[in-house]
Subunit: 213 residues, 2 copies
Amino acid sequence: MSDTADPLTPVAAAYERRAAEYSALIGTMDAVHPVDRQLVDSWATGVDGPVIDAGCGPGQWTDHLAGLGLDVWGVDLTPAFVARAREHYPRRTFHLGSLEELPAENQTIGGILAWYSLIHRAPDEVPAALAEFRRVLRVPTGRLLLGFFEGDTVEPFDHTVVTAYRWPVDAMAELVATAGFTVTETHVIQRRGARPHAAVLATLEPDDRPLRR
Amino acid sequence: MSDTADPLTPVAAAYERRAAEYSALIGTMDAVHPVDRQLVDSWATGVDGPVIDAGCGPGQWTDHLAGLGLDVWGVDLTPAFVARAREHYPRRTFHLGSLEELPAENQTIGGILAWYSLIHRAPDEVPAALAEFRRVLRVPTGRLLLGFFEGDTVEPFDHTVVTAYRWPVDAMAELVATAGFTVTETHVIQRRGARPHAAVLATLEPDDRPLRR
């Protein structure tokens, strides 16, 4: 995690090339469906402590959550996104860096929003990010919210920017549970004209009740 | 559809006995999760024309939607609910009657909210209600929003008041499509401590695009 000129990962390089286009199309809160916004807002109101917008892109969620009064900062691996976020939201805090090396001490963070920021990872690369989230979140009150594309099987698809993966919501929930979290809530949303998407909400509070009943 | 003293159906009779208890527990907007409320509100903002709160219970959604500026009335088969709704929301309109005989002319209604009001029907009884919704909704702009309990198979379960059925969201969506609607959106939500639930949004606007892609 630094601002030095490390070589970009393939995903960061792909976003770097299309950062302006992406930011204009879906990099603002206007592009968020009101129901999805309410999902994140409701989650955020239950967070106690600092929040990381993990994979913040051009920073719209960081700014939005800060506007709700949360102590939040964004982190992203794509320099053009971090530069744009700092320019557009000069009062907010953004870091350039990897989700696997978050600039935070162990168990100091109240909430992590990873809104479509794990979608480009191959399935075997997701656990490392979840482990890092687990490391920095407070025990037991830390909260995690993942947003991602949903499908019947774990499989890659041709995302506009670079290959992404869709996940059955139960498979992602299981991965989150395996990483040491307690899954508290899941959502699956299909809207005509958009890819099916999903959210998994989790905490570090032990709870043996199964989610389904 | 009348206020005369027809014998109550078993479901109406079951609710009649527990109307006060039910109304106190979940018969207010305070009992609605903010995300679910946003789902209904977002749907409602797209409705053009009068709205029916079909199976309105104690009337909280009728009152809520009227408060948003919609021209809405509620209808329910349980006399104690209609009486309570009229008492609590004297400025709103409520009818006592069946969902299969709505007091509305053909193709005059902009939107129908059926929020957990089809859940007690045996699966073979659901199409009749959908057909009645289809009859009264404007073509092609009419909109339908169903809320219901979700599960892996269509099956009955012991609901607090009287037997209810859970449905896979895709099965309910297919039934809605079979009734002549175009399904535009589905939601499946699981929350710890609550039964999984789902919503199906549909219109009468022809559209050949499949929901999933």
